[in-house]
């Protein structure tokens, strides 16, 4: 290792990056665009779901029940019907997601302290929403009935009491965005030199493989770190995601994770000499699994066991766990040391592999 040679490499690399403002601009803007898209588009919350009502009872009690639904932010009255056929048609058309069917005699039976029955029909074509709406509806109906239950259940949601999904999407996005761009940028930066042949000039010089890789890694690692800082700033300041834990722990883990993602880019660049293939490889081994197998959108514990093991190959899950833990739960190093250790080990392994694969030979 020779500091002078690394400095020459760093200078050359940073100049090349700065002379290509379009690529640099895209590299810095894309994570923000992605954050805004996801921040506004991915919402698992349900607001103002269209509600259909078939009220055959027409009593004060039935009207009060409907009002209790429409008074919440979860439901908005869309349609009322006069017969069951109307309900069926509305659900089939998709104009309502949930329909209340209140039979004749509900109020009378209620007064006689019999157990009256009513029906809630749900559109189950999107199961997550249907589950959520069903839960809300049961809770509203139960609240309307003042009879004391045998055991009182008090449910409190911890860590994200308002259940805003943006609060868990943003810390997850940190992990996904850093998997999406830094590996791609780094891999292309090296493979471009292979394609143009300039790497041959580097090979025939005292610059060693590790020196070359460090020269590539630091500038792109810095860009990646800027990306994570920007995404965090927008997440905390614009989306008002509360920060329960220590920012410095998050940044430190982010630093390790950045090295890991850039290292994956280096590794990809040692596998191919074509920019197109490098791009596809980066997408397949970094971006796709970070969406699907990181727990970002689909919880890992619900996956089949074999797939759960498979998710362990991809580093995004360790970081997303850690990032959500710090941001939402206020977890400290003592709780998350295993994740951090795994990330560090992973990064070290990726680098060892990249350095081993990177040889100063053309074939």
């Amino acid at each position: 290792m020779n500091a002078r040679r690394i400095a020459a490499m760093l200078g050359k690399e940073s100049r090349e990056i700065l002379r290509d403002p379009i690529t640099l601009g895209v590299a810095l803007a894309m994570p923000l665009i992605m954050l805004l898209l996801f921040g506004y588009a991915i919402s698992l919350d349900v607001r103002e779901a269209p509600l259909g009502v078939l009220d055959l009872d027409r009593s004060p009690l039935s009207r009060q029940l409907v009002r209790q639904f429409t008074d919440t932010e979860y439901f908005a009255l869309a349609e009322t019907y006069t017969d069951l056929g109307g309900v069926e048609e509305a659900l089939r058309r998709g104009s309502v997601k949930l329909a209340l069917v209140i039979p004749r005699g509900l109020a009378r039976e209620r007064q006689r302290r019999e157990a009256p029955q009513m029906q809630i029909l749900l559109d189950g074509t999107y199961s997550a929403t249907a589950n959520l709406l069903g839960g809300y509806a049961r809770a509203i109906v139960a609240a309307a009935d003042p009879a004391p239950p045998a055991i009182e259940v008090r449910t409190r949601v911890w860590y994200n009491p308002s259940l805003r999904s943006i609060n868990d999407v943003v810390p997850g996005l940190f992990g996904v965005i850093l998997m999406a761009f830094p590996p791609l940028l780094t891999a292309l930066a090296i493979v471009r030199e292979k394609e143009s042949g300039s790497i041959q000039q580097v090979f025939v010089s005292p610059l060693s493989g590790p020196e070359f890789l460090i020269g590539k890694l630091l500038p792109y690692g810095l860009i990646a770190f800027l990306q994570i800082a920007m995404v965090m700033a927008v997440g905390f300041l614009w989306f008002q995601v509360p920060m329960a834990g220590s920012l410095s722990l998050l940044l430190a883990a982010g630093g390790v994770y950045v090295l890991c993602t850039v290292g994956l880019g280096l590794l990809v660049s040692t596998l191919t000499g074509s920019q197109l293939i490098a791009m596809l490889l980066a997408l397949i081994i970094t971006l796709m699994p970070s969406f699907l197998f990181s727990g970002f959108l689909f919880p890992i514990f619900t996956m089949p066991y074999a797939l759960q093991l498979y998710t362990a190959i991809f580093p995004a899950r360790y970081f997303i766990d850690l990032s959500r833990g710090v941001v939402l739960k206020g977890a400290a190093l003592g709780d998350l040391w295993l994740n951090l250790l795994l990330l560090i080990a992973y990064t070290a392994a990726v680098f060892a592999l990249a350095v081993w694969r990177f040889r100063k030979k053309v074939a």
Binding site: R4, G11, E16, Q200, Q201, F203, V204, S205, K360
Partner: protein, 568 residues
Amino acid sequence: MDSALSQAEPPVVASALARRFGKVAALAGIDLSVATGERLGLVGPDGAGKSTLLQSLAALLDPSAGRCRVLGFDTVREAAQIQARIGYMAQGFTLYERLSVDENLAFSAGVRGVTGDTYRERRAALLAMAGLMPFTERRERELSGGMRKKLALCTNLIHRPPLLLLDEPGLGVDPLSRRELWQMLDDLRAQDVTVVLATSYMDEAERCDRVAFLDRGRLLALDTPAALRARAAGTTFAVTRAADAPPLPAALPGVRSIKHLPDRLRVQLDSGRNGAEAQRLLAPLGTVQAVEADLEDVFTLLAPPGEDAATAARPAHPIAAGPGGGGISTQELTRRYGAFSAVDAVSLDIPPGEIFGLLGANGAGKTTLIKLLCGLERPSAGSARVAGIAVDGARGALHRAVGYMSQRFSLYPDLSVAENLRFFASAQGLAGRRARAAIAAAAAESGLDAGDPRMAGALSGALRQRLALACAVLHRPRVLFLDEPTSGVDPLSRHRFWALIRNLAAAGMTVVVTTHYLEEAAFCQRLGLMQRGRLIASGTLAALRTQAELAADAGVEAIFLAHLGRAA
């Protein structure tokens, strides 16, 4: 330890060196030793193994068998020692195009630990030698091809390497810049720098101390240029044909190759045939005169007839003359980009069926002129008619009348020969029986097998070039433009290519061709010399020679330089 090189050990020693790529033997059994201060030229057809040999010496490739010692180090075990010391210029342009001249040089110095006053001194000396001093702030990609190559050479000289490996340094470089590049190499002789270079220019090979002929990975000959020329001595003859001479027979026994110059034939016989026998063989063709052999003849003699020679091209079908004739005529044709005139008031007339050569430095405007004449660029001023069609008028008619083969043959490397031909036929609007007939004709004229299942990317450069030609003439254009069609192709294949061009011209096709190989100028009926967008001279080679007041034996390079010098 600066070098393990002992006085006794030569800087380059290869013994039984072999390298395979899969099933292909790129190098086989190479034994070679280069002395300190020697300049060795590597020549050979496409795929001969020149680049592989250079990369093996640069420790960029490990041998499959045998070994290489460079500067006293083993290329496998001590690669780092070698790579830290030598200079290596890869083929093509391999600097950082977004960095300036100075930054490229500083990077090269930085990774080699050349700093401080030493760097400043050497930088000044190298930039002055390369004539790049006025351009130190310019980005590499804004330099001409010649300047880029000179800069690449500078970046490889900054650490004063005792050994320089150069892969086709003159490729894509105009004759003037190439001369300057060689001036730099000649200056190195005083410093005892050993140079090994690959080249497809025979005049460059001629300037080497020894020349190694490679073919399909084997070393066929290794000797001084003079000794090599002696091998072909007595086999070459000029034959001047009478106007009413009968057409040449398809095959002449004992004849190795025939070059068709505008005024005579240059015939090479198989070795062993000479004197009286030559007279007997060639007398029926015309007046025979013995001429001196050059390195190109040695090349023809040494290269075993390959796949190319087997496929003799068929003469072309006559080209139907269009309503407006077939030639080109331009008046004050100009193309400006902002304040810069890429083509500046060019007036010229080319009659149908003529082969017209455009010569000039990189950036002189040759490619822009061709693009204007093909209708790919709009003229800023002036007018031109190609095959009777105005270039700023109906593009459709113009595109049907012209064929264009660009510098980088625009073929699809992942399509087979047949698929490329079919695609370009359909792009020209040919379908069904007409497409099949056009493909068969173009393939026959180019000496190709129209059903060849090989991918275009897997073909040799020479075959790829002929496929590109076939694709360009599928629609039987009346005017054909060839932009550096023979760049990087070995002399033998270049000849065969010129035979195809001559056939097409004989059939009535007007051909405009640019080239950096000055010896190819001799194949053109007339030449145009371009400099900074202007056509500074045009005419036959003899006329240009007279205009420049040169002796009757002055070569193309002398004529070229004399005209450029006069205009400057």
